[in-house]
């Protein structure tokens, strides 16, 4: 039983929810997630991510595009921060907007990190490391 718990916890620590309607971005982010020895759970838009989150909270982190069909990244952050089972999951927002107000809105809503496009591979890697690092420390604190 104990080993089952450990295995379950390890699996939980490796799953990252990615919601982006851009297939190029999904593939890039997935590649980095695999480099970090984690597993990407993919959603093609905000509504799909919302449906996943309704029934699943076992994520080490979440990465959302700001502008998506049906539900935007900001809506997903607000939903996650209002749900006890999801509120500790670190979230990174990716946006093609260089708008400072959007960044402020993201952090106000509860984002852990914000990455404006275009970004370099190094920027994406370090943002991801920070996000996954913050995930494990918050889980440790829990």
């Amino acid at each position: 039983m104990e080993s089952f718990r450990i295995t379950l916890k390890q699996a939980t620590l490796k799953r990252v929810l990615v919601a982006d309607d851009d297939p190029v971005m999904r593939h890039l982010v997935t590649t980095i997630i695999k480099q970090q020895e984690c597993e990407a759970v993919l959603a093609n838009d905000g509504r799909e991510a919302y449906r996943i989150l309704k029934g699943d909270s076992q994520f080490r982190a979440a990465i959302f595009d700001m502008t998506m069909p049906y539900l935007e990244g900001l809506d997903l952050i607000r939903y996650m921060r209002s749900e006890r089972r999801l509120m500790r999951i670190p979230i990174m927002m990716i946006s093609a907007e260089q708008d400072l107000e959007l960044m402020v809105s993201s952090f106000s809503a509860g984002a852990t990190a914000f990455l404006p496009k275009p970004f370099t591979p190094e920027q994406l890697q370090s943002a991801m490391r920070m996000l996954l690092g913050s995930g494990s420390s918050s889980l440790k604190a829990a």
Binding site: D21, P23, V24, M25, L28, K117, F119
Partner: protein, 147 residues
């Protein structure tokens, strides 16, 4: 004017890979920043795949759809749809170094009701032209990588 007409006599390779405006020879062009694209080499996984080829394939498929959406939205004067598609194409283009396309998409995103339909139509036409050129360059990069 068609893309073929615009690129006519651009260089000897144009029958195989139409070349974007501004390119001299090979794959060097201000339409595509190869340094940006090649930077993704460092993210390459050790699984035998070629990340850059995969990204190009995904981009070519997605960009064709987005440009088509932009054209249709322009004809139907559906500005919200046009701006959304332009926003999406700007993001992926910027990240892969497809500069000109990203710049035109940015202009389309910033269009407002005061801009004339003719001005928007001109930008859409320019987008189609630049996108075709950039896509040809990406296809050439892809071909070279596959050897």
């Amino acid at each position: 004017m068609s893309f073929d007409q615009l690129t006519n006599n651009e260089n000897a390779e144009s029958n195989q890979h139409p070349v974007a405006p501004g390119s001299a020879s090979g794959i060097a062009s201000d339409a595509l920043d190869l340094e940006v694209l090649n930077a993704f080499e460092e993210l390459q996984l050790d699984d035998g795949s070629d990340l850059i080829v995969e990204l190009i394939d995904l981009y070519l498929h997605d960009a064709a759809q987005r440009v088509s959406q932009i054209r249709e939205a322009s004809l139907a004067t559906e500005w919200v749809l046009l701006k959304r598609a332009a926003h999406n194409l700007k993001g992926s283009s910027g990240n892969l170094g497809v500069r000109k396309v990203a710049e035109i998409c940015q202009k389309l995103e910033w269009m407002d009701r005061q801009d004339s339909p003719e001005k928007i139509a001109d930008l859409v036409q320019l987008l189609e032209y630049e996108s075709a050129g950039a896509n040809a360059l990406l296809a050439a990069v892809r071909q070279r990588r596959l050897g």
